[in-house]
Amino acid sequence: MREKILEIENLSTSFKTERGIMKAVDGVSFHVEKGEILGLVGESGCGKSVTSQSILRLYDEKYTAEYEGRILFDGCDLLTLGEKEMRKIRGHEISMIFQDALSSLNPVFTVGNQIMEPLLIHQKLSKEEARKKAVELLTLVGIPMPEKRVEQYPHELSGGMRQRVMIAIALACRPKLLIADEPTTALDVTVQAQIMDLILSLNKKLSMGVILITHDLSVVAETCSRVAVMYLGQIVEEGSVFEIFDSPSHPYTKGLIQSIPRMAGERARRLYMIPGTVPLLNQIPSGCRFAPRCPYVLSACRKRTQELLETGAGGHRVRCMRFAELETKEAAPVRAAGEECGV
């Protein structure tokens, strides 16, 4: 087993809102090993982004957000650090790439300036050194004519180029952990292939840990070694990419994987669908949170809260009381797929 660089224990993030306290992340635990890519998947609104932004404590703690649990990074609990020490971690030891590169880059500074910023702050380089490093970084992420590009503004670059600049900024200080929040969602497939290739090769070259957040399961199948599936602020299944894709145990994971339109094999006349939508955070169902949408639901599911259980060796975990049953035989779905329920 490789060295763990990040270990999250029982993390909860809640927000104070006008409609009461919303717990967006509820008791999440997982770890990231050195040099591995962990995929975090789930539908919109299931807490993937909040989890990742909580790692860097990006929410306003004074008025709205409250964290609980422990986030151990290199053996040190990030939730106990002061703001000043936290700032030394952000963009230095842990960096983040956001989905929308255009709105994440500052439109009034050149890309060179923005790549140099973390170098000037964290590594205390001189301006000339930082500039030289910025050109090197642009070359590393595969931008042609880097000397010319450092002088350009974000609006002068294409979507794929901007995402590469974001990656260059994130990698400037050689972080130990990179959090990529939907890095290719806004991009075309050909550009997506370029960017994922880049992230993979940099992950190997720099042996940094990566958390890849995405709702595109094919991207996960291709790049990640382990996967955690989230639903309504909790992890419902975690395992190696093969366990998750070959024999998903949780009904939610099964549903997600069956909903993908396949690129190979027979085309069915209808796609599988998970009925209904993710409920709002102030309408969390009692018992198993997936029960209202689950095709295998029993009345006991609605009564008892489910724990995330180890299913055997290799760290495969599932939050479902019927998983053993569902694995051994094809348990009869209680309702037909597609039947609407409480939309």
Binding site: V189, A193, H215, V219, V241, F245, S259, R262, T277
Partner: protein, 321 residues
């Protein structure tokens, strides 16, 4: 032979680039010399990357934009020479579902009104019958009657897309242009909307032009597929043939870029160099020659003509024999 309901011939859509004093200093060739036919009851998938002109073509085909050149015939009637009155009648037949369910609905209108307004403009029925029609479509697309008086912001993305579809269906159209209708949705909701589109097609014999950049969705929903690059249609074929045996280098690149949903399969990938050239200044010769891994001398000099591989499969490339 199936019934042809729409035929587009040599359609061009150039947008002027205006310099100082509003004088045109050049043109963005968003769609350049595209010809295609749509048959009754089929789904035609139009794929390509951002900026290749697929949405513009969709808009031109139902005359939301008036083309710079070429003709579009809907059941034999020319859309570009039709007058106001004829157009209004034709619009009943030609509807559109937009990509972004958040911005394509008026935030100040109750969704019931969104639907009845369509009938009102077309002068169909009286107040009560319009209400009844709207409610009927509303239930067809899987929404509840109590949603009728709500505002768009009260719905989720998937539900809004259902409203967008209801708005297109209420006039009983012959052709619906679906412009990336599922791109903004999660996979689970995406499959709900795709299944709904298929149900409606089966029930009403609708024809869809389905615009998407997602090859796996296209493979699932389309009968025939057209691939666009920089304003040009570069290949057209029945869906299974295109996926099994693509002829144009660009189609091959697009297919190889799609991530595999099986973690055991490592795909051989053709990674494209560089970015899409500007449609205001397209390369001479074949539009794909600047990024094509197989480009030869002739590709940079001469525009490729049409090669028919068989009756239903055509490609525009110098290198296909």
């Amino acid at each position: 032979m199936r019934e042809e309901i729409l035929r587009a011939e040599h359609v061009k859509m150039y947008f002027p680039i205006r310099g100082a004093l509003g004088k045109a200093v050049g043109h963005v060739k968003a769609v350049d010399d595209v010809s295609l036919s749509l048959y009754k009851g089929e789904t035609y998938g139009l794929v390509g990357e951002t900026g290749c002109g697929k949405s513009t073509l969709g808009r031109v085909l139902i005359r939301l934009l008036k083309a710079t050149g070429g003709t579009v015939l809907y059941k034999g009637e020319d859309l570009f020479t039709a007058n106001e009155k004829e157009l209004r009648r034709l619009r009943r037949e030609l509807q559109m579902v937009f990509q972004d369910p958040y911005t394509s609905l008026n935030p100040r209108m109750r969704v019931g009104e969104v639907l009845t307004e369509v009938l009102k403009i077309q002068g169909i029925g009286d107040k009560d019958s319009r209400m009844a029609d709207a409610l009927a479509v509303f239930e067809k697309v899987g929404l509840l009657p109590e949603h009728f008086y709500r505002f768009p912001h009260e719905f989720s993305g998937g539900q809004r897309q259902r409203i967008g579809l209801a708005r297109a269906l209420i006039l009983n159209p012959g052709l619906i242009i679906c412009d990336e209708p599922v791109s903004a949705l999660d996979v689970s909701v995406q499959s709900q909307i795709i299944n709904l589109l298929l149900d409606m097609q089966e029930e009403r014999g609708l024809t869809y032009l389905f615009i998407s950049h997602d090859m796996s969705v296209i493979r699932y929903i389309a009968d025939r597929v057209g691939v666009m690059y920089l304003g040009h249609l570069v290949e057209e074929a029945p869906v299974d043939e295109l996926f099994a045996d693509p002829a144009h280098p660009y189609t091959k690149v697009l297919l190889s870029a799609v991530p595999s949903d099986n973690p055991h399969v490592k795909k051989e990938r053709v990674i494209l160099e560089g970015d899409l050239p500007s449609p205001a200044d397209p390369p001479a010769g074949c539009v794909f020659c600047t990024r094509c891994p197989y480009a030869k001398e002739i590709c940079r000099e001469k525009k490729p003509g049409r090669t028919d591989i068989n009756e239903t499969h055509r490609v525009y490339c110098h290198l296909t024999k």
